[in-house]
């Protein structure tokens, strides 16, 4: 119950102000198509540089939570999911809005998000210290395999192609080695003066997540403002609460599915929402109503994608393995404040860890309250033309990446990585494993070198890195996640080709 001790820290004027700012801003950013939660959090990181670690994390955590929920606004009123996590919400939410039940759909989505989100954060609160204690037993070889596991799991599960996902991870690991090495001080892969200090994580995060979005908006040309916003009718919040309570099956399936999926590194909110929707439909006696404006569809999808947020931070805070791309960006935020998540986070920085987690719990409630009131405004903001969005994001990316170290080199790195990532994405590569490689690369290398020194003094590399129960378990998980992803990829291809043959 240590977390209760730090509750008061969330309510200091600056912390609470940042929590409010992150929540409201996140709702608006989330509702804006083209701005993913990951990109929104990446663009916010430079601002946290001027805050204390706790304040910075409160801002990022609030933005993470509410961008996921805010995505439901455009999914329901515009039929454009604000983020991939809101795809399942579109199925019934927009149909409800077209039937004149837009306000009810929005209220249900925010209420369900809050229930799912609070339970998800409670899981984070109770699971994290247990896992953190367990992780204290980890030595260099285990930490090396954990870092590799982080890259391979995201690389294989988050990508449409396993090989390209793993290749993205390798590119990220290589990029992490650019600069001077820590032990010998030797220069590695420095082919431009801007790379002398290595690749700055924040500049890289902004470039890899924001610039491809900007270029994608350019490639769409002169698209008119987004689809017409459906006007929301007046609807009693108490009626929405009653409707939510009448649907315990959808709420519990959504929350449980989201929480479990959140714990698995690499499986994001999109999967959580779709799986919860599918399972609720299967268990519902009213399955014919799904897709035709059924409230259970909205409740299941939204409770799932927000329930995923808290548990997705469990592997991040205990083992330094981000559970989702946005969690990877949060890891970058932690690292620039000199906080290394993992075994000793709760021993060395309990104030930072617990205040951050508590703020997420309160943030879920605030998200629900503000979501119910600013949904209409957020939907209007979502209509901002892509031309304005692209120019604003480009401006923020340049100013933001410069502001971290007042270095033009960081701006060049941001731009180069961003343009490279845009083209890589067009060829089936994804940013998440590359970012993971970049972030986990130094951890993997430091433990590999430390491990090889220990191995040199003992039984040799093979014995040190490849034997022992924990090493074998971690290696088995690496292999199993890759094998599972290969199997899923082959199965989906076979299914696609069968569909093509059937016409």
């Amino acid at each position: 119950m240590e977390f209760l001790y730090y509750f008061g820290d969330v309510f200091t004027p600056i912390s609470f102000g940042l929590l409010l700012l992150g929540t409201i801003g996140g709702l608006i950013l989330g509702a804006t198509p083209g701005l993913s939660p990951t990109m929104a959090v990446a663009l916010l990181i430079p601002f946290t540089f001027h805050l204390t670690p706790v304040q910075g994390l409160i801002l990022l955590g609030a933005a993470y939570t509410s961008t996921v929920a805010g995505g439901a606004v455009s999914a329901i009123l515009l039929k454009i999911p604000g983020a991939p996590a809101n795809i399942a919400t579109t199925l019934d939410g927009h149909t409800m809005a077209k039937q004149g039940k837009g306000a009810q759909a929005l209220q249900l989505s925010f209420l369900a998000s809050a229930v799912g989100g609070v339970i998800g954060v409670l899981l984070l609160i109770f699971l994290t210290p247990v896992l953190a204690q367990w992780a204290l037993a980890f030595g260099p070889s285990h930490l090396f395999w954990l870092a590799i596991l982080g890259v391979t799991v995201i690389g294989s599960l988050d990508s449409a192609s396993v090989v390209k996902g793993l290749l993205s991870g390798c590119i990220g690991l290589w990029l992490a080695t650019i600069g001077f090495d820590d032990i010998m001080g030797a220069q590695r892969f420095i082919f431009h003066p801007a790379l002398g200090g290595g690749i700055n994580i924040i500049a890289a995060l902004i470039g890899l997540f924001a610039i491809p979005q900007v270029l994608t908006m350019f490639a769409k040309g002169r698209k008119a403002a987004n689809a017409e916003v459906i006007e929301v009718e007046k609807h009693s919040i108490m009626d929405a609460v009653r409707e939510l309570l009448r649907r315990p099956r959808a709420l519990s399936i959504g929350t449980i599915t989201g929480s479990v999926i959140g714990l698995i590194p690499g499986v994001g909110g999109q999967i959580a929402g779709l799986v919860a929707y599918d399972q609720t439909k299967k268990f519902s006696p009213e399955r014919d109503k799904f897709g035709k404006g059924h409230s259970e569809g909205v409740i299941a999808a939204e409770s799932a994608n927000n329930a995923m947020v808290g548990p997705s931070l469990v592997p991040l805070l205990t083992l330094s393995i981000p559970g989702s791309p946005t969690a990877a960006v949060l890891l970058g935020g932690l690292l620039i404040h000199g906080i290394f998540p993992g075994t000793d986070l709760f021993d060395n920085h309990p104030d930072v860890a617990w205040t951050f987690i508590n703020s997420m719990l309160i943030g879920q409630v605030l998200m629900c309250i503000f979501g119910l009131y600013v949904a209409g405004l957020a939907a209007r903001v979502a209509q901002v033309p892509q031309s304005v969005m692209a120019a604003v994001v480009l401006g923020l990316a340049v100013f933001g990446s410069y502001s971290v170290q007042s270095s033009m080199g960081d701006v060049y790195v941001m731009a180069a990585l961003g343009v490279m990532m845009y083209f890589l994405e067009r060829f089936g590569f994804s940013a998440a494993p590359l970012v993971l490689g970049l972030i986990l690369g130094p951890i993997a290398e430091a433990n590999f070198i430390q491990g090889s020194m220990i191995a040199g003094a003992t039984d040799g590399m093979a014995s040190y890195f490849l034997t022992g129960t924990l090493n074998i378990v971690l290696i088995a998980i690496v292999i199993a996640s890759i094998a599972y992803s290969v199997w899923m990829e082959l199965r989906s291809r076979r299914y696609t080709s069968k569909e093509e043959i059937m016409g």
């Binding site: 001027h50 390209k164 690991l173 590695r188 270029l215 480009l394 890589l424 067009r426 089936g428």
Partner: protein
């Protein structure tokens, strides 16, 4: 001989470039000294090369299933914005100052990609107002709130 489609050519070129980078990384890792500093790069570059060559061979054989490349239409729309953005980042931001260059870039991008009519004075006034708003927000955020001293050169 049957014609090779544009996405397939693009996949071959893209995966070829990645394979070349992978081989360069591996070559540097295995030849540069001190060897201890390149121990980890050797490990990852080996996996990098294997995966990159596998992707390259698949692209040559036309087995690539994921990624559609860049269509001509996308590229035509992308090119002006990309050029403006690169000129802004690699030259104008430092030479003209962040705020001046940022404002010019914002106005150019907005004017080029705005779906609103380009032959009405009203829409141009709107663009100027939005640009001025952008400048004010960026100056307020970075110069006044965060106190970030950016290259200022001409006006700011």
């Amino acid at each position: 001989m049957s014609q090779i489609s544009l996405p397939r050519v693009q996949h071959i070129v893209a995966s070829g470039i990645i394979a070349a980078v992978g081989m360069w990384v591996a070559w540097v890792s295995y030849t540069q000294q001190p060897a201890e500093a390149f121990l980890f790069p050797r490990l990852i570059s080996t996996v990098f090369v294997v995966l990159a060559l596998w992707t390259f061979v698949k692209a040559i054989l036309g087995w690539t299933k994921v990624g559609n490349g860049v269509s001509r239409k996308d590229f035509v729309w992308l090119l002006p914005g990309l050029t403006i953005a690169l000129v802004y980042i690699f030259w104008a931001a430092k030479a003209l100052g962040f705020y001046t260059a940022g404002t010019i870039t914002f106005f150019l991008l907005l004017s080029f990609y705005d779906p609103a009519p380009h032959d009405e004075a009203k829409t141009w006034v709107k663009r100027v107002i939005i640009t001025a708003g952008f400048l004010a927000v960026m100056y307020g955020l970075f110069a006044l709130l965060l106190k970030v001293y950016t290259p200022r050169e001409i006006f700011f």
